[in-house]
Amino acid sequence: MFHRLPSAAAEIVTISVDGRPVAARKGDSVAAAMLAAGIVQNRTTPVSAAPRGPYCMMGVCFECLVMIDGIGSRQGCMTLVADGMVVETQLGKREPGR
């Protein structure tokens, strides 16, 4: 979906997305790291279960919501990756309490 252009050297960290290891560049947001790994869908909507991916990348649209380290509906574009971070896509209806 997105590819990396020649970039300055950076530390590589590994996050897990739905149990799959994803290599990210330190300084990536979660949403950016997912797009670079070819993951286009962050969640499905709570209304009709339609697929959604990041739209604005600046904290406005709330489309890139994912579960991060057990907390649901975090903005993927506003959260920086950290080594060992556990990310899960959000499917279907909202789960109160998470």
Partner: protein, 473 residues
Amino acid sequence: MTDQIAPHYDVVVVGGGPAGLAAATLTARAGLKTALFDEQPGPGGQIYRAITQTPLQSRSVLGGDYWRGQILVDDFLASKAAYVPNTTVWSVSRNREIGVSSAGKARMVTAQRIILATGAQERPFPVPGWTLPGVMTAGAAQILLKSFGLAPQRPVVLAGCGPLLWLLAWQMQNAGAVVDAILDTTPRANWMRALPHLPAFLTSPYFLKGLKLMLGVRRRVRVISEVVDLAAEGDGRVEAVTYSTASGRIARLPAETLLLHQGVTPNVNLAMSIGIPHRWSDEQACWEPELDADGNTAIEGIMIAGDGGGIIGARAAEERGRLAALGTIRALKGQTAAAGAGDAELIRHRLRRQISGRAFLDRLYRPAAQFRRPRGDTIVCRCEEVTARQVMTTAALGCTGPNQMKAFSRCGMGPCQGRLCGLTVTELLAEAHGITPERVGYYRLRAPIKPITLGELAQLPTDDAAMKAVIRT
């Protein structure tokens, strides 16, 4: 950073773009205890985003106008202003209590004066299929380029109108990323309205830069003009974009990525949640706060600077930031201190020069009615999946305003808090009832304007008075 947040400041600036950086630099230099809160990990706002940390190795990719932001950032970082990044302001009250959240911890901060410099967001672009993964804003692609050195996979189609569309195409070209097509939705009729303002534009700083940029892009990218209809198609993600032109040509382009843009509008959520009065701007088809020449709002001690006060562009935003700072210094330290902090006349002169081309650009790039007021099954509220037809049907039932619309349909009640449907709903209701958008009004916005967890709220430090207020005796 949280531990470095003091409970009280003379001046709090919200937002680290050009207006916020320029304002905080001046107030701090004048000896006022200043803090700048910003959601991003680095200074610069969206326009100079990642200027201190972009992974892109060639400076020529983003261009000279981008790197000019370095002066602003260097001056700010050299000032005594406390810089608090990665921090969300989720509430501001009329008596200037500011709710901030940093590193998972919320706290309240007070300030004698507040300068809101929350900038702009992209205007909603409701077309069929705009919710499909792979459809993003042009700004999103620009952020991915600046902050993370990422470029979209081909085929890439850009669609819409406005300077940012051309700037993005130019920057992508510089980065070696291919743009396959640009679907230009600028309505031909706009030229007639823009022409009287052409002389001012020709002598403005925008003209030569813009011309160079557009010619550079047009040499290498297929540009399709006068696009009057647009839809994204695909199964589970965007695969193609269909369009028709004013001359009646209908065509379909394959697209792995579709980047939409039809201008930017003030980010009004924080200002409106405080109760700052806004008025409808017909030229820019959006809400703007009511401000005096310095940037004072109707609420004592709260000012607005930059694009959040009406779209003016980065260089003008910087000058508005300086004017707000001088107004702040005058209020807290007197006229002599303000005069010593900067030459207001010179700043106003530069501001006038920077905005001299705006009238032309605003009229030329005013988005077409069909892209502001969609029809049929096109989704208006992305969060709650409310369509244009549902909005119009609800209006026909007698629903007069956006707040009643919430009760009928949940339109505007999702996590984005109306940011991507509010303008559309206001304009649709105005059309349905034959009244002005000003009379229709906007969603009643309330804090928290950004999500914070209940745990964070519950752990806010409280004093005795606050405890007693909720204890039944």
